[in-house]
């Protein structure tokens, strides 16, 4: 039997190969590799498992998949930047259509208006959403979006000093540091008010100086606390530096958009917009800014142009910013992005629409506050901060969080994230609990009961 049949993806039979070689006047496949020094070639075969046919493959992957607990079989209050929102089935049905899934970047716009249209509508939707007109087709994830935004502010201002709120998700901070290390950027940390859990505004005012390119903050922050966005915006503006806000898109169902709050660059993790949790990825980095900074945006941008007949058409534009044109001077190295996930986010937003989006946000808030009230009524349990929260809150427990979590797990509950998992230096008795619209009142009551029992 020939290799063709053996592996399924190899379309040539041995006879096909001979026929093609003969057409070229060659006799063996080796004749095509004469440029490769003989001793560099692998002798024999690589050491890999034997090929699996489709049902063997499926069995193996199902075995692996079945070893993992999921948010379907375990009642989950995990969050910390990734949230279990409902994912309408339409998204899976549409985003996996072959034409979308198996296309490359739309380099040939005449053949890709369908893709360019969804990317352009994604940009438009995000621009409305964040109140900032210039949006790209996505970057890798929320954390790299923040890192890209940080570097944008350095390019825009020519400065290399950035003040960062202490209450970023720790891994956002880590990624930021990794991204900026080579750029010689100086990161200064702005402290948190221990009582409210919000940025210490007085301290912040003293930290921003003339050399500061930007201030970066996150809301809700690592404690789940929602920052006073408008106030921060005013404060930062007064100090004449750029204001970068990272956020969780859901909050804009109820809150003003960053554009209304003097934010210059807004970034988000778009996972909550119709993406599955996927054990951490791929997720969706969103970035938006003011028109005046658009030439500093990283990555692809789709724009309107005209075709030969003078009719509106779409194409990739402003490529002079990008790596394939600007090379080492590019705004970023990003090439492949998260286009198929931008499609998911767009479909999500279209499906739930204006009112649905508000309702999701509303249910998140209500359910989280319901749970928080019930839990803090338990002896020894209290919320760490007084600042407002959206759908996630940090509790102090009378015991190490990991112990409580272990007990909850016996009841098939993921009770939240122990903050020591995010930051080993954090107190061990603090637990971060997230609630989404998918939790029922009965779920919340069960959580209360089980947590009470675990105390």
């Amino acid at each position: 039997m020939s290799d063709a049949i053996l592996t399924g993806y190899n379309v040539h039979t041995e006879e096909d190969r001979q026929k093609m070689l003969a057409a070229m006047g060659k006799s063996t496949i080796a004749d095509l590799f004469t440029e490769v020094p003989e001793h560099l070639r692998v002798s024999g075969l690589l050491d890999l498992p034997p090929p699996l046919n489709e049902w063997e493959l499926e069995r193996h992957l199902r075995d692996l998949a079945n070893q993992n607990a999921t948010t379907l079989d375990t009642l989950s209050f995990l969050g910390a930047g990734a949230y279990e929102h409902f994912v309408p089935s339409v998204i899976d049905a549409i985003a996996t259509r072959g034409e979308f899934l198996t296309a490359y970047t739309p380099y040939q716009p005449e053949m890709a208006q369908g893709i360019l249209r969804f990317l352009h509508d994604f940009q438009l939707t995000i621009s409305k959403f964040l109140g900032l007109p210039a949006v790209n087709c996505s970057v890798y994830d929320g954390a790299t979006a923040l890192a890209e935004a940080a570097w944008m502010t350095c390019r825009i201002t020519g400065k290399r000093r950035i003040v960062v709120s202490a209450s970023l998700w720790p891994d956002y901070r880590n990624v930021l540091e990794t991204y900026l290390r080579g750029r010689g950027v100086n990161l200064i940390t702005a402290p948190t008010d221990e009582a409210t859990g919000q940025i210490d505004e007085a301290a912040l005012a003293t930290l921003i100086d003339e050399e500061t390119a930007s201030f970066l903050f996150q809301s809700p922050n690592r404690f789940g606390v929602v920052e006073p966005m408008t106030r921060i915006g005013q404060l930062v503006k007064e100090h004449d530096c750029l204001n970068v806000m990272a956020s969780y898109p859901m909050i804009f169902g109820l809150m003003k958009n960053p554009g209304q709050a003097e934010v210059d660059i807004a970034v988000c993790e778009g996972q909550c917009l119709g993406l599955h949790l996927n054990a951490g990825g791929p997720y969706l980095g969103i970035i938006a800014t003011k028109t005046e900074y658009e030439m500093h945006l990283p990555g692809r941008i789709v724009g309107q142009c005209t075709d030969l007949k003078g009719e509106e058409a779409l194409a990739l534009v402003k490529e002079e910013r990008e790596q394939h044109v600007a090379r080492h001077e590019a705004t970023s190295h990003i090439c492949s992005n998260q286009a198929n996930l931008a499609l998911r986010a767009l479909i999500y937003l279209c499906l739930i629409g204006e009112q649905g989006f508000r309702n999701v946000a509303d249910l998140c808030v209500q359910k989280a506050h319901y749970l928080e009230e019930k839990l803090t009524a338990l002896g020894g349990v209290s919320r760490v901060h007084t600042g407002p929260f959206f759908n996630e809150f940090l509790l102090t427990l009378p015991k190490p969080a990991t112990e409580i979590l272990a007990t909850l797990r016996e009841q098939d509950i993921f009770g939240g994230v122990a903050v020591t998992d995010l930051d080993p230096a954090a107190p061990d008795n603090q637990l971060l609990i997230a609630v989404t619209e998918t939790k029922t009142k009965a779920d919340l009551d069960r959580m209360v009961e089980c947590l009470a029992a675990a105390l």
Binding site: D3, A4, T7, Y9, V11, H12, L21, I29, L32, F33, L40, L46, P51, L64, N66, Q67, A69, S76, E84, I94, G98, T102, A103, T105, I115, R117, L124, S127, P133, A143, T178, R181, G182, G184, K256, H276, L277, G280, G281, E294, D307, L308, E312, A315, V317, H328, A330, H333, I334, C335, L341, L343, L346, I347, I352, Q355, N359, D362, Q366, T440
Partner: protein, 486 residues
Amino acid sequence: MTPKSIFKKSRPNVSGASIVDADFQLGESIGVCCEAEDLRDAPIGLPELSEIDVVRHFTNLSRQAHGVDNGPYPLGSCTMKYNPKRNDKLAMLDGFGKVHPYQPSDSMPGVWSMLWNLQTAIAEITGMDAVTLQPAAGAHGEFTGLLVMKKHFEKLGQTNRKVILIPDTAHGTNPASAAMCGFTCKIIATNSKGLMDLDAFEAHLDENVAGLMITNPSTLGLFEENIEHIAKRIHDNGSLLYYDGANLNAIMGLIRPGDMGFDIIHINTHKTLSTPHGGGGPGAGPCGVKAFLEPYLPTPVVRPIDGVPAPDCNRPESVGKVKMHFGHVEVLVRAYCYILANGAIGLKTATENAVLNANYMKHQLADLLPAAFPQNCMHECLLHGGSLKVRGADFVKRLIDFGVHPPTLVGAGCVHFAEEFDEAMLIEPTETESIESLDFVIEQFRKVAREAAVAPYMIETAPHSASTAKIIHNEAVWMSIYDPND
């Protein structure tokens, strides 16, 4: 005409999903979530459509797109080969898709095993000792690999090594990633054989050079014959050799970057390992290193701990985190499936067929589009369009009318050629095209060439059957300021 924006189809107060919960009264407790002045005071302006209208809109959009599922896609340097459907299905199993990244790590051993197995397979395929699967795409893999390189020299106290040598044919992400890491790029010319100019290389090689970053085969589709010599010179200089593995499809199973002397590599799963490109992404860019660089890999590293694969976050020497969580798991499952379905024999056959197809195409088109270089090409071929009666950029647009995606030209896509290749086309048929399909593509090239001789304006105004007419690139106006009435 380009399809309508979905905003033009929005109908006030219609929504496709019903978001209510009888136990909670909507609108009750909105005030508690933020400062009062931060509360929304106007609608967002999201589109509002019923579910059927959303489905129809996007179904229609998909029909104005071309993927591998639709036909030949010989886009050079992009490896648009078949994306197996079984991989899509398995990647979406609940046991991968519905797993939260902050679940206790012992609640997701299947994820760790999958990642570990895949790392091991990629290490074997590339001849490296350790692999991280975190990078989000090829460019991100480069960034990760170059950070590792940087860390290596920091550890050695050789902070002077700030230069990365890059051939002029390199993909734009190479210099861009180098710059992001704080390196300076020096560009090396290509010689008349299409290979790296060794004199130029030597001229740049000094104590400030951290590394050389090349693809092999190069973006011209040629195998760098002098690779061992180059590796030796680099290593003698105390520098490192970086492999941009975007072209691994040409050698997988036959030749290993590690055996050629590379110290650091990345690969693009959406090229070599058949993961779909999704109209732009997501991809994945695993990065591999030789053992001495392993301590610097980004955190966490997945490795057996007490015999069981698990994430190791205690990595004091690591370059840090390059992105959230553990990489593009959903994409990586597909890459893993591809390797398992093929096995060593399948990967080898795939590579052979990729090279066979490119050479066949090159040979069969030689009278029309002579090869830029005489030697065997690898998985793609660069052909001269100079003798065509029309411009190459026009020529390829006409292929669209005949169902073939254009090959890569300068300016259309990401590759970068020297000026003498202005009219050249980079054709990568990939291994999953049958002879019939190749012959079909060849015939369409010939059809257009015949037409060029008699009716060039048909070509200059092509495509004629696509959803838009030819698009005038330089008139592009980006409508960045959205119209609030939209």
